[in-house]
């Protein structure tokens, strides 16, 4: 084990880099701001690599722990640590930040420093969410990370950005405020904010049900689960490309992560009682939202709905509560992080050139952008869950677990393989294939070196994870088994 406070570095390096970028001042230093931002993001990613290398996959419990006094008045501590569940998200988040900074290199012209700073600070705060083991610290990161995203959507977004930003903020805030009451209740019961102590706290069933509902509202908004999902398409459509990428790849994972860190271990009996509700909501998300995605004419909106549908798989996996299902759900989260990031970046590539997201404005892009068409094809296939891509692994594991759980659940879940293929590939066909639709498409230039680098790296991730998923599952194995053993025991 390393003696460096790696987790603190992973949280605070991006934040510090963000403030350094802000200090470069106005737009006349834009080039400098971009370079500092990229250096900060890259450094932030590099410090997360020793986490993976030094992680002991055979050990249960938290690793790389850091504990310091923070606010003794509330018995709240600065307590960081990762287990097999959170480790991968820290790395994913730090990696995506690098892509986001690169993606905004040319596309963002105004207030460059503030743009890059917002992403860096957000990246640090989101790492904080994944590694915080103190309830108050978690909440602070959880809510503070709304601010940069609110500004990103509102300042650099599309025409209806104000509406989308406010909607996003108020939806998520409403969830997290109930979560605040829930953690205060847990504090009142246990006298501590240590999440790991809450896991062991005996709670009566009715208490658990109330807590579970409070957690549910907070995390269901974030995931987002049907019927609390309506903010997401608005936010995605209006957000700049980088904002959409972070939103889909990382922000949605926060809610799902909350379920495994809070709902399942703290209120296991309520989770068993209400699993039917969660499974029903997840299946509605998978099937109904899949159909909704089919009807979209806006590419970003289509991918946004497809994200909701894919996240339905994640919550479905969690609440079937078997090792295969939960690991499948976690793999699906990571995979969706890569695939949705790649999809939004690809759409960003088109949008930067055409300034349109309407499918109807495109057609025959393959003739003018062959390299792009090839990569986009891979990502579309991954989104549809083609074997050998990362999208397949998680979905397959969850469906397999569902068959063991209940045939009809599996049947409904498996419909995603058809629906996902339908909406993704139909969109791909209309945008990429066919005759060249208009002069604007004819004038398109293929990928620049920078874009090629970003998409190429993501293609490697998608393929790598599809071909060798064990690198991901072996990390989470012990933690998931511990979690299952824990939630099998009654708490009251």
């Amino acid at each position: 084990m390393s003696s460096y406070p790696l987790l603190s570095l992973a949280v605070w390096i991006p934040v510090a880099a963000g403030f350094a970028v802000l200090a470069t001042g106005a737009d006349r230093n834009a080039a400098l701001a971009r370079r500092i931002a990229l250096a900060g993001a890259a450094l932030g990613f590099l410090v997360t690599l020793p986490l993976y290398a030094g992680f002991d996959t055979a050990r249960s419990g938290m690793q790389f722990e850091e504990i310091h006094a923070w606010i003794p008045h509330f018995n709240a501590r600065y307590h960081l640590g990762v287990d097999g569940i959170s480790l991968l998200f820290v790395i994913l988040n730090s990696l995506v930040t690098v892509f986001v900074i690169l993606a905004g290199w040319k596309a963002v012209e105004n207030q460059v420093a503030q743009y890059n700073a917002a992403f860096l600070i957000m990246s640090g705060l989101m790492n904080g969410i994944f590694v915080a083991l103190d309830g108050l610290l978690f909440y602070v990161f959880f809510e503070a990370s709304l601010i940069p995203l609110y500004l990103i959507v509102g300042v650099w977004g599309g025409p209806r950005r104000v509406y989308a930003a406010i909607k996003f903020f108020l939806y998520t805030l409403s969830g997290s405020l109930l979560f605040l009451v829930a953690i205060l209740y847990l504090f009142a019961r246990s006298g501590s904010f240590a999440i790991l102590e809450w896991h062991l706290l005996p709670l009566a069933l009715h208490e658990q049900v109330w807590l579970f509902i409070a957690f549910l509202v907070a995390f269901a908004v974030k995931v987002p689960m049907f019927p609390l999902h309506t903010w997401l398409p608005d936010a995605h459509v209006e957000a700049p490309t980088g904002g959409s990428v972070v939103l889909a790849a990382i922000a949605l994972k926060l809610g799902a992560y909350g379920f495994v860190r809070f709902s399942l271990p703290i209120t296991p009996d309520a989770a068993h009682e209400l699993a039917w509700l969660m499974i029903a909501l997840s299946l509605i998300a998978v099937v109904y939202i899949g159909f909704v995605a089919l009807a979209q004419t806006d590419m970003k909106k289509l991918v946004a709905y497809s994200s909701i549908s894919h996240m339905g798989f994640v919550t479905l996996g969690f609440f079937m509560m078997s090792a295969l299902a939960i690991e499948g759900a976690l793999v699906q989260m990571i995979s969706h992080g890569f695939v949705s990031a790649a999809m939004f970046l690809s759409i960003g590539v088109l949008y930067d050139r055409m300034h349109s997201r309407q499918i109807a404005d495109y057609g025959g892009v393959a003739h003018t952008m062959p390299k792009f068409a090839a990569l986009f094809m891979l990502f579309a296939m991954a989104n549809a869950g083609l074997p050998a891509t990362s999208g397949f692994v998680g979905e397959f594991m969850v469906i397999l677990a569902a068959v063991q759980f209940n045939f009809w659940v599996a049947f409904a879940a498996a419909s995603t393989l058809i629906l996902g293929a339908a909406y993704t590939l139909w969109m791909y066909k209309r945008v990429i294939f066919g005759a060249v639709a208009n002069d604007a498409v004819r004038a398109l230039a293929d990928l620049s070196g920078r874009e090629y680098l970003i998409l190429g790296l993501l293609a490697l991730c998608v393929l790598g994870m599809g071909l060798y998923p064990q690198a991901f599952t072996e990390v989470m194995h012990v933690s998931v088994n511990d979690l299952l053993q824990h939630i099998a025991l009654k708490k009251y």
Binding site: I71, H73, Q114, V155, L173, L178, V181, Y185
Partner: protein, 508 residues
């Protein structure tokens, strides 16, 4: 001839006596000052406030020694028990002096540009208001409490009316005076009821008498009757719904510098008044006042947050937000008493309220200070639209306002979050879960209008004809320090929480 006369110990009241002496001196000195900027008057005023704060702290320093629990506190009463100088009082008096100093520093240029406000008198009245607050804070007797309250109210009323050519200011002053008199009347009526039952005007004496009378049905009715009027008077002074009507008009109508004087420091004095009367004096009646405070709190948070959404003027918006914040603060006071009367939990709750008040004042100072720095001669910069595109005009000012709005909305890393958190914690610990849920729902509604200011600043385009923003280095430094404090205490609140808890623990 004077055998019955014992000279009172003047030492505990040294800051007040010094302040009074200096006010008279400054009034005389100002007659000789010719320069329109009146630098000398200003310097003397600030120095006076600083020395008063230091004197307060110097007197309090002797109390800071560690003490064994149960050991009687050092006698700090003087003037025949009318005046008390305990740690709570000293702490808040020092803070009041600092808050008034900051208010005056922020107002410096604002006042220079408005020649219709006589500046010498402005300083003197501000000092008198400070004196009133200090007397209020140190009152251990209904009469001295009332005396302090009236010194404060009359000075602030005169300050509001000081801009003689402004119709809105005159209207605001009138409203402040009439409604303030009504509130004082209620307060006095409640006090007279209590006097009628207990035969004493001294708060500690009243507390003992009321405690001894538990279970006597007839007295209970009169006591509860008096308590209702007392709480109504206090709610008036705090600006809690349904006694809030003066607040938006006064905040809006008064010159911004006076709004700041009204909005910041007096809240601290009002807090002490509430805690001395209800917690110190009438804790035996908690079953009665607890539910009153809860009702006031819920109504204030509800109405304040809803109506603030509809405002176009930022001063009016902040007035409604102040009403909502007072409601939140009252929640802490109301949840201080729990079944079984656990002193530790009660102290936690009062600590949360005090912390809330102190940090609210800190953020308020910066917000109104910023509005004043953005204003120009003939331009008040108090409409919400004046903040449009502020980020394009000045990134620094926009960032400062961003911090304040997020802090007031209770978003973490800023101190407003910790304050709300502390209050909610005591509400939940006292078992009022639904109250906590209501409070967070109202905060959610409240978040909207703070977010709107951010959206105006960051998302909207700036008006091309807007005057360039210029602020002196000193003003910028003051505002920066203020904002950094809001952020720093938000991340490391332990020191201030400890200080609040300690002074309360030593005083009750």
């Amino acid at each position: 001839m004077f055998e019955n006369f014992a000279a009172p110990n003047l030492l505990p009241a040294a800051p007040e006596i010094f302040l009074l002496f200096m006010v008279c001196l400054i009034l005389l000195v100002d007659l000789g000052v010719r320069s329109p900027r009146r630098d000398l008057t200003f310097m003397l005023t600030q120095a006076t406030l600083a020395v008063s704060a230091l004197l307060t702290l110097w007197y309090a320093a002797a109390d800071l020694m560690p003490f064994a629990p149960g050991e009687p506190a050092r006698a700090m009463l003087t003037f025949y028990n009318m005046f008390i100088a305990d740690l709570l009082g000293s702490f808040l008096k020092a803070l009041v002096c600092l808050a008034v100093m900051a208010s005056l520093a922020y107002s410096r240029r604002y006042l220079e540009e408005r020649s219709s406000i006589p500046q010498g008198e402005y300083c003197v009245l501000a000092l008198f208001a400070t004196l009133g607050m200090m007397v209020m804070i140190s009152a251990n007797h209904f009469l001295s409490l009332y005396l302090g309250l009236e010194i404060l109210s009359l000075s602030l009323c005169a300050l509001t009316a000081l801009q003689r050519d402004s119709v809105t200011a005159s209207e605001a002053a009138m409203k402040y005076f009439v409604l303030g008199a009504l509130a004082s009347g209620m307060l006095l009526y409640g006090m007279s009821m209590l006097y009628g039952v207990t035969g004493s005007l001294e708060i500690t004496e009243v507390a003992e008498q009321v405690h001894a009378m538990r279970g006597m049905p007839t007295n209970k009715t009169v006591l509860a009757f008096g308590l209702v009027f007392l709480v109504a008077g206090l709610a008036f002074k705090l600006g809690a719904v349904p006694f809030h009507m003066w607040l938006p008009d006064v905040y809006h109508g008064a010159p911004t510098s006076v709004t700041l004087l009204i909005a910041a420091a007096p809240k601290l004095a009002a807090f002490v008044m509430v805690i001395r009367l209800l917690v110190g004096g009438l804790s035996s009646l908690f079953a009665d006042w607890q539910s009153m405070l809860m009702l006031l709190a819920v109504l204030s948070m509800g109405l304040g947050n809803f109506v603030a959404i509809a405002q176009q003027n930022i001063k009016r918006m902040l007035a409604w937000s102040a009403i909502a914040h007072m409601g939140f603060m009252l929640l802490g006071l109301a949840s201080g008493v729990v079944r079984g009367g656990n002193r530790y939990i009660a102290l936690e709750a009062y600590t949360a309220s005090l912390f809330y008040m102190v940090t609210y004042v800190l953020a308020t100072l910066a917000v109104f200070g910023l509005i004043m720095l953005l204003s120009r001669r003939g331009f008040e910069s108090d409409e919400l639209d004046d903040f449009k595109g502020l980020n394009q005009r000045s990134r620094w000012f926009a960032a400062m306002m961003l911090i304040m709005m997020l802090s007031l909305a209770g978003i973490p890393f800023f101190v407003g979050f910790i304050a709300k958190f502390a209050v909610l914690e005591s509400v939940v610990i006292s078992g009022h879960y639904w109250l906590a849920v209501l409070a967070v729902l109202f905060s959610l509604i409240g978040a909207f209008f703070y977010l709107r200011v951010i959206w105006l600043m960051y998302f909207d385009e700036a008006d091309k004809n807007a005057a360039p923003i210029e602020a002196s280095f000193a003003d910028r430094t003051l505002l920066s320090v203020n904002s950094v404090l809001v952020a720093a205490i938000g991340i490391f609140p332990q020191f201030l929480l400890n200080a609040c808890g300690y002074v309360l623990a030593r005083s009750f």
